[in-house]
Amino acid sequence: MAIIETHGLGYDYIRRDDDGNVSGITRAVNNIDLEVEKGEFIAVLGGNGSGKSTLAKHINAILYPTEGYVLVDGKNTKDEDSIWDIRQKAGMVFQNPDNQIIGSVVEEDVGFGPENMGIPTGGIWERVEESLKTLGMWEYRKHSPMKLSGGQKQRVAIAGVVAMHPECIIMDEPTAMLDPSGRKEVIRAARALNDVEKVTIILITHYMEEVIYADRVFVMEKGEIKMTGTPREIFSRVDELKDLRLTVPQATSLAYELKKSGMISLPDGILSEEELVREICRSYSIM
């Protein structure tokens, strides 16, 4: 069953001058029809300004469609009575962990969401424990979030969302500000939530390496979805991606270069480093 559906979704940003008159309208997303099944791992790619974040903000009712409609677990985001339900079902994680953490102690920060939902105290602590353990941050529960590394802060932010028991988590460039190990921690956490807890994940990113584990990839340009497919399908279209201001993972890029220079037996759409090494061994093994 679909957890998220959009039908003819369109959204206009309206600019107003000092007197409140409309001075310009920008269509940020246009005519988007998509369905995401429960338990899927979706990656969304696209250049700056392609409408990724605007789309994401429709999924937990931060923005409402100008045209069309969005259903989250069958509920329309325009229906005011469902808003709290929808925001609990679809949680959101943003780019900068410092803007999302409000508590002065890790466990209090994570408890904020369930507390707001009106969960009884005992239940809150259970959820805090369970989500901090899921994210591997239990041993830091008494720490000040300010003293954690970027990757750890972002995992606390994700734990705060997980404690609300969402069906779906939308991550809007969660690794953009992190160092390599922080990036790895966050992506590992996202994959584990998807694999083990069966949480639907929608990951927006500019790092192509983070996309290769997704079930499906949506590529956006000028507010529309221009390509959909498995990572392998998407990343075999190297030249088209370049036109959309994107690129491919390093291993894919190296394979593409090698093939152009004469290693014609390499298949298209190689994604991981292991795969490239395996293919080179198969064709050119010296052993």
């Binding site: 994107l246 004469g262 090494v277």
Partner: protein, 282 residues
């Protein structure tokens, strides 16, 4: 025009219970016309370090020599240093404030005391060298795209004609094409105007593709220093401090393990390609 750091120490919240040693006995030299990559995990001291380079933070002990002069000498003109060492902070577009792009870029040189004429020439040259389209000079910086805003912010620093340009994560949050545009622009500044570049980055690929030398920070100390192949060949040590080698370097290591005679110090895609082609005799 070189900068030498000589046993530099810096402590945050000195004298309180929360003292943090942010720079611990840091010694190194940035040579004239170098392209230095500065890497380290979050909190390793990179940003603290770059703020010392133009005197925004003052070392608790140690010396910094700019072109042979001690910047802590009481006769030293700090203002001159701020013009010569341009600092571009993370998300510099958050600092744009004027009503037009051109005015915003004029702010720096004007503040340095240049005449109106000189200021406008400097702003014009700076916008030109970042490849900013002329038809947008008089639009509001807030109506630009993310990548364009960032160019304007960098032009604002370039207008002060620095000899050393320090960029703290200049590509964070940009799409791959936008990243390449900014890095290409930085390469041009270095190649055509011989500006010394210090590039702080979390992307090992960006550092590998651009820097000549790399300085690795960990816990406020200089952990490693060398050419890019020297630094990135020490993969294990880098991983221990939360960093990594460029992805292609890992591929080269794996191929080597499988018995291919490839160069494990390759850090860029063209280097890796050439070495693999040679190894399989194509």
């Amino acid at each position: 025009m070189s900068i030498i750091l000589d046993h530099v120490n810096y402590i945050y919240s000195k004298g309180t219970a929360n003292e943090i040693k942010a720079l611990d006995d840091v010694c190194f030299e940035i040579k004239d016309a170098d392209f230095l990559g500065l890497i380290g995990h979050t909190g390793s001291g990179k940003s603290t370090l770059v703020q010392h380079l133009n005197g925004l933070l003052r070392a608790d002990s140690g010396h910094i020599y700019f072109d042979g002069e001690d910047i802590y000498d009481k006769d030293f003109e700090m203002k001159k240093l701020r013009g010569k060492v341009g600092l571009v902070f993370q998300y510099p577009e958050h600092q744009l404030f004027e009503e037009s792009v051109f005015k915003d870029v004029c702010f720096g040189p004007k503040n340095m005391g240049l005449s109106n004429m000189e200021t406008e020439v400097a702003a014009y040259e700076a916008l030109k060298s970042v490849g900013f389209p002329e038809e947008l000079y008089y639009v509001s910086p807030f109506d630009l795209s993310g990548g364009q805003k960032r160019r304007v912010a960098i032009a604002g620093v370039l207008a002060m004609k620095p000899r050393i340009l320090v960029l703290d994560e200049p590509t964070a949050g940009l799409d791959p094409e936008g990243r390449e545009e900014i890095l290409g622009m930085v390469r041009d500044l270095h190649d055509m105007q011989q500006i010394t570049i210090v590039l702080v980055s979390h992307s090992m690929e960006d550092v590998a593709n651009n820097a000549k030398h790399i300085l690795v920070m960990d816990k406020g100390r200089v952990f490693m220093e060398g050419t890019r192949s020297e630094v990135f060949s020490r993969v294990k040590e880098l991983e221990e401090i939360g960093l990594a080698a460029p992805r292609v370097t890992y591929i080269m290591h794996m191929l080597k393990d499988k018995g291919f005679d490839v160069d494990i110090t390759a850090t860029t895609i063209p280097e890796a390609r050439d070495s693999i082609l040679k190894a399989v005799k194509l």
